[in-house]
């Protein structure tokens, strides 16, 4: 509890935090709002995008792209502690190294919860205004996608946390995080068989928020072997635990 209180003190008064969060909210609202005018096979998606219950699936897929921003925020928060030497001061003053890492893990949980609540509010807002069906059953029909999104956001941020503790410099850590999630792992995916690469971390995290309309695409081409969201939760939790443990190990074994 004490750990969380201290983290809040640091984060809530940090202008950079508010700038990144404002960017997160603003860009996501814009994308959600304008995605209804996207053209798919010559047809505008239209307001049907906001129909319950599939809205939850579509919105969590949109939010998926913004996990990168949350990851960058986590990297900034952690590498700051290295450049200000405040991590070392906290270990001097009365904290174990494990607690120092756990504090940041709690921050990722908090950010993921914030992102999920934001998505819930956006979903209810757009859904109640535009959805044809606003019965309780429809509204809460596929709301479990929000929980998949939560796990995914935690996963992305834990990967970012790992790179931040590994590299300790914000610029390089951000590059490594983006390079791994968007270039290196996707290249590996092409090289190896689908039956194996579906268990790789970024693929697993991605499977939590499947592309809307994937079933239609699958009908036209050969179906992908990606895990269903419900099935991806277990390996995702495994990777999260692994990344947290690796971060703890890194911080415990090195000089600060």
């Amino acid at each position: 509890m004490n750990l969380i209180k201290t983290e809040l003190r640091k984060i809530l008064q940090y202008p950079t935090f508010w700038v990144i969060m404002a960017t997160y909210v603003l860009l996501q609202v814009l994308l959600i709002y304008f995605s209804s005018s996207f053209m798919v096979s010559g047809q505008s998606l239209g307001k049907s995008l906001y129909d319950f219950p599939n809205l939850w699936m579509r919105f969590s897929y949109i939010a998926y792209f913004f996990n990168l921003l949350l990851g960058i925020l986590v990297i900034v928060l952690i590498t700051d502690e290295y450049s200000y030497r405040t991590l070392r001061q906290q270990v001097i003053d009365g904290r174990s190294r494990t607690e120092a890492v756990l504090a940041k893990f709690y921050v990722t949980l908090g950010l993921a919860a914030t992102g999920t609540i934001f998505l819930l509010i956006m979903g209810l807002l757009f859904g109640l205004i535009y959805s044809k069906d606003t019965s309780i059953g429809a509204i809460f029909g596929k709301i479990d996608y929000l929980s998949y999104f939560f796990v995914q956001a935690v996963g992305y941020m834990c990967l970012a946390m790992f790179f931040a503790f590994l590299i300790r410099k914000s610029g390089l850590a951000i590059i490594a995080f983006l390079a791994w999630s968007k270039i290196v792992e996707p290249i590996i995916h092409y090289q190896i068989d689908d039956s194996i690469d579906r268990f790789m971390p970024m693929k697993v995290f991605g499977s939590l928020t499947p592309t809307p309309g994937q079933e239609i695409i699958d009908g036209l081409t050969s179906p992908t072997l990606a895990l269903s969201p419900a099935w991806a939760v277990l390996p995702a939790l495994f990777y999260i635990a692994l990344l947290v443990l690796a971060s703890i190990l890194l911080v415990r074994l090195r000089d600060l």
């Binding site: 008064q13 200000y84 030497r85 070392r88 001061q89 600060l256």
Partner: protein, 296 residues
Amino acid sequence: METVLYLDELSKKFGSLQAVDRLTLQVEAGSIYGLLGPNGSGKTTTLGMVLDVIRPSGGSYLWFGRSISNETKQRVGALLETPNFYPYLTAKANLQVVADTKQADHRHINKMLDMVGLGTRSHTTFKGFSLGMKQRLALAAAMLNDPEVLVLDEPTNGLDPQGIAEVRDLITRIAAQGKTILLASHLLDEVEKVCTHVAVLQSGKLKANGPVGDILSAQDQLLISAEELAPVLQLLERLPYVVRFAQDKNTISLTLSEGYTSTDLNRDMFAQGIVLSQLLVRRKSLEAQFLEITQK
């Protein structure tokens, strides 16, 4: 007396560099213990190891007779190298973060800010502080929960004369309350003025340690000369209180054992019919003593 900190063969290697080499020493409660050595002699590395931020390559250390834990950390206030704070937070908010970590009473914050003369600047962000103010804030943070031990690494580094005087005054005031202080410094006169005990480090090795009086205030040197040097040399051989002597052209330099002065020497010379043409007492400078210790 209770041992506050005990180092047993503590070592640290950075690659091929042996930064600290099997360092063994103990700091007793109530002492002001100076860790003296030139830059790069391993002072900060030693403090870093006992403060849990640098992992030792060998050896061990004990705080209050037990291994380091959050509980022992909270009994020690420490300032290692630079003042480490969040630049965007105010002085007060920074101390709140420290108070959380140390589980200190938040009501002490204003009192501490007043003590280091920052009471009126508590709402200024850390990045707007001068170096002296930053250093004072770090001292306030170190003393926040009234620790039994203070560890200070070059506390007057980079300060102007007034700042140096203030910090030294603060240290002596804290020490007067019976607290133990471990102070690393490369400034001889600082250690001599402030400390009760000293350990001299060079290239990571312990060169000497003990009470400051024994280590830094070595015997004075005498320079004598006479018309005829031969009988003087003969007599010096026989005088029991002459520790060593050496002839240098027309003068002889010598050191006397403790408790004897130039008066004793002059009287004995005169008693033997030797009249000295010169008798000079030369106090060894701290720098000379330090070089002597480190070159042993």
